[in-house]
Structure formats: C-alpha cells, structure tokens
Symmetry: C2
C-alpha cells in the first residue's frame, strides 16, 4: 500500500474528523481513489452495529436519531450518523437548520454526523451510503445510524442493508401515509410511533397490529411498536432496549450472519452492475458512440432492444471458462 494511503487509513481508523469527512466526500463523488481506500478499510470493519431509521417526512426522524445517539453516548458507545436528505434545494434552509441543531453534539468526539445529499446521482446513493457506513465502521464507531426519508426506492435500498431497520410513523398523517413507499412497512424490524402524545397514536398502533396479523415474517419475529415523544426524550430508552432485544433474537437464532449475507448478496449484485457498465462504457462505448446510437434510436433508424442485445452479446462473448481461470491465476500471481 502506498504510504500516503496507509497514512490516510491510519487517520481514519483513529477517528480523525477531517479524514472521515475527506474519505466520505471521496466516496460520495465516486472518485477512483475511493476503491483502493475501501479495499484497505474493509479489513477493519464488521464490528459496528448498523441501524437504519426511516419514515415519512415530518415524522421527526432527525430529533429521534439525535436522542438515540445521546442514549448510546450515555452507554459510552461511539456513534456515527449518516443523514440522507432527499430534500429539494429550495427547502434546504430547514434541513440546514436541522443539521446545525444536531451539531450540538459536535463538541462530543464520540459522535460523528454526516449529511449525504441525493443530488440525482442515479442509483449511486445506496452505494455511497453503505460505503460511508464502511468508513465509520472502520473508524471504530460502535453504532452507525443511517437516517433516510422513506419515500423512494433508494431509501428502501439503503435501510434494508442495515442490521436493524426502524420505521417511524406519526399519528394523524391521514392520507399522507401514502408518502411512505410500498415496501417500507414490510422491512420494519421495529416500529416507532413518534409524537405519540398526539391524538390518533392508538389508531396507528391498531393499524400496525392488524397489518401484522395478516403477514407473518419468515423469521417469526413480531416487530414491537415503541411509542416515543422524541422532542421530550420520551421512549428513547425503550427504543434502544427494543433494538438490543432484536439483536439478541437475531443472535440466538443465528440470523445475524444470514441477514448480513443477504444484504451483501444485494450489494454485490449492485456493485457488479455498476462496474460492468463502467467497464463497457470505458472500453467499448465512448461518449460520442453512445450519443450516435441514441440519435439512431431517437430517429427510429434502430430499435434499442436489438441494439442492446447486440452490444451486450459482443461483450465478453467468447471467453471459455478455462481462459478466465488462467487470467484469474495470473492476476493472483501478479499481485
């Protein structure tokens, strides 16, 4: 490993805030050097507990995450927070305010907070977020909290990669429950009804219960429902306890590894998909060729379906398995 990379890795592992920030920016921008960095950091990961928290806009996620982080700090565990903001830049003010509020932790070296924007980086957000979690894990954070708004497929993809998924609801959302995307309810390991001092908390609880009576999870776990008032710190200890409970359940049933394997299966496929495309575009389809083909399609000179078959068919077409083996061995020898 080059000595400057080694130095960078050392600084990250020591939890140096500026190095963490630099590492995550490198990942967010998907810069080439991020891959070597992640290779080096991966060896030092696997210790952190990754908790994903998601819910509709206005469910009070930031406040809840804030309070949960404080709870973990009281338990003397270090915390990294990744807050994914799919918010329009035009309402950026409120979000900035949130972040500034959360920076109240900042004097505490045991908490590191990082916002990640969803600036239309097609499909790359889940990748960037999980890679950022890898950095925080390698930096020795005991807990990594990933906070997203549960409205898009991206956000589902992010939280389902966590060890524990917490779905946050609030009473009185009415039709706004529609803003929670299909599939979000199903991925909850724990439900939180935040702002539970509001009217309608019992109704939300009944709705979750009746939903649960319809669908039994394959692991037989029944997600508990925790009522919180995050703004007053109420219910946070109970939430932390519920997370411990679920963890113990996973460990007893030998499910934690199973869950991690299943997450990595999905991530691996996503990583392969991105890397294959990158290679195809880099080696075969320079920008001007893509533009030419797109023009052919737009002007109906070619149909895109046949074109894709042809391009993909000619890529990596006639390698025998033996050749691949040879190359792989060569590669190992060179390394």
């Amino acid at each position: 490993m080059p000595s400057d990379l080694q130095h960078f890795v050392d600084r990250i592992r020591a939890g140096d805030v500026r190095s963490l920030a630099r590492a995550i920016s490198t990942i967010e921008d998907n810069r080439p050097e991020s891959r070597e960095l992640l290779k080096s950091l991966f060896n030092f990961t696997g210790r952190a507990q990754v908790i994903g928290l998601t819910g509709a806009p206005g469910a009070g996620k930031s406040t809840l995450v804030d309070q949960l982080a404080r709870e973990y700090r009281r338990q003397e565990r270090t915390v990294g927070i990744i807050a994914v903001d799919p918010t329009s830049p035009y309402t950026g003010g409120a979000i900035l305010g949130d972040r500034i509020r959360m920076q109240s932790h900042h004097a505490d070296a045991g908490i590191y907070i990082r916002s990640m924007a969803t600036r239309g980086n097609l499909g790359g957000l889940a990748r960037a977020t999980t890679d950022a979690a890898t950095v925080l894990d390698a930096a020795g954070k005991d807990i990594v909290l990933i906070e997203t708004v549960g409205v898009g497929q991206d956000e589902i993809d992010i939280v389902r990669l966590a060890d524990v998924t917490v779905v946050i609801l609030v009473p009185g959302m009415g039709d706004d429950v529609q803003t929670i995307k299909a599939g979000i309810m199903e991925i909850a390991d724990i439900f939180v009804i935040n702002k539970s001092d509001r009217e309608g908390a019992d109704r939300v609880e009944r709705e979750i219960r009746s939903m649960q009576s319809l669908a039994i999870r394959s692991d037989k776990w029944t997600p508990p429902i925790i009522k919180t008032v995050a703004s007053e710190g109420r219910g946070i200890t109970e939430l932390a306890a519920a997370i411990v409970n679920y963890e113990q359940f996973l460990q007893q049933k030998d499910l934690l590894l199973k869950k991690k394997i299943s997450s990595w299966r999905e991530r691996l496929i996503e990583m392969l998909r991105d890397a294959l495309l990158e290679r195809l575009l880099g080696e075969r389809l320079p920008e001007e060729e893509i533009a030419r083909l797109a023009a052919d399609i737009a002007e109906h000179r070619r149909d895109p379906y046949s074109l894709v078959e042809e391009i993909v068919g000619s890529f990596g077409g006639n390698i025998h398995h033996g050749d691949t083996e040879t190359r792989r061995q060569e590669k190992v020898r060179i390394d």
Copy 2:
C-alpha cells in the same frame, strides 16, 4: 416473426384493450417474451406525445390527469394514461378508489388507463413505465400521460423521459414541500399550482418565480405557471395550451429531437446496465455462487471491492475489437 407474435402486435396496434393489458403485464413482469414484442412494436412508435406529470402526494395529480385526458378527448385525440403508484399496500384502498373513479372514462375507447405498482422491483420501474409508453404509442394513442408521485429517484427518472414534464404543486403544503425530491423542481417544463383557490397560491407562485430568477435554463425556456382547480375543471384548457406552447417552442428551436436523443441516451445506458448484469449472472454467477461470495464477504474472508474488480475484469476481458466485429457480422449473417 412467428405468426402468434404478429397477431399479438396487430391486436395491440388496433388498440385492443385486452391485448394492451396483456402486453403491459408482460413488460411489468419483465418476462423474456417482452423483448421480442418491444422490438416489433418499436417500429410503430414515435408518433405519440408523452407528457409526464408529477407532484407531491395530495397535490391532486389523478384529478388533474383525469381532466386533462377529458380535454384531449374533446380535441378528438386518443389518450393513454400510465399511473405509477408508489403507495404502500396498506393504503391501497384510496388508490383503488381513485382508479375506479378514473374508470369512468372506460366506456370511452379513446382512453386507456393502466396503473403500475412500484412493488420494489429494483430499478425496473422506469424501464417498465417507458416500455409501457412504447406499447401505448404503438397502439396509436395520440397522447400518453404518465403520472407519478414526485418523491423518489425512480419517479424523477420516469418523468424526465417524457417530452414535456409538468410539476404540480399545491398551496399550503408548508414543510411538506420537503416531500418533493431534490431535482424535481429543476425538471419542470410547466408548473401547475393546483387547488389554486386555496390560500397561499400566490405565495407558491412567488416562490417559483424567485427560484426561476436564480437559475436560467440552458434552452432559455421559462416554465409558465398555470393555476388550476382540477376538481372543478378550472385551468385545464390553459394547461393544455401551455403544453402546446412548449411543444412549439421545442420544434421552433429544433430541440424536440435533441431532447429525445438525450432521453434515449439515458435509457440506453440503463438498458445496457441491466442486460450486462443479466448476462453475467446467467453465464458466470449462478445463484449459489453469488450466495457463496456474499457469505465470504459477510464473514470478512474477502473484500467486496477487490472481488468485483476481479469478476468484472475477467468478463469480456480479452476480446480484441476485431473479434467483436467478426462476431457481429456472423450474427447478422445468421439472422
């Protein structure tokens, strides 16, 4: 072309409702036969005007789309509607109600309505929606309206592929504007302030104007702001006129083809990405191999970053350009 496929294509082109439904289901499920079907249909497309409409939950999109469809029918143009529902199954009732309401058109053979769910089909929704639009285009619909909730990256991907993008806002959303994802405001060719009889419509208009004063589009188009009360049919004629205006602008400036090329560029890349992965998984990485590799990563025996490099490096690695050419020619000869 096999005669049953030919028959299917003929039925679709004749606008047969059952054939349309079957074709779109085939596409939604990404069944293998969908590709041959799309290849055949593509030759008959390019005539429809595709209009994407998006906005926050509760903005009254369905009602607006409904009214706009009626307006086009008054102009004796046929309409296909694709309604993308990212809604939780637990609130499916309301949505079903919506759809039933819209079926009021159903007696009119000039309107075809299809809901598409976002049942967590990773990344496939934009593909399925645009392919469904291809079917409706081939079926001779003059106008294809694509309606989505503007909350996720998926939804942005869908509407930006349209010829014209309409972003629907409502007064009094307050913080709920946050539910519109970053990037949505930027893709609007036309803004609609629906429910504009409510207090705050002028404020929303001022906000859009002040936003527009900050960012000038590269094509110099200033998206107009149309005020509607869709539930009473108010402002719909104005919206249809604004769409015509924008179309004429695109044609005058020779931008429509440019826009289509740019859409196809993105779609082509997405299609390549999916097809490459499909091929890699099919030829090299059977399910059990993926599972084994995921376990290796989860148990920290391998790092995923090196693994992906190795797999992708060995795929399509040592084919020379000449070989590719030969294969391509062979393929053409065989066909």
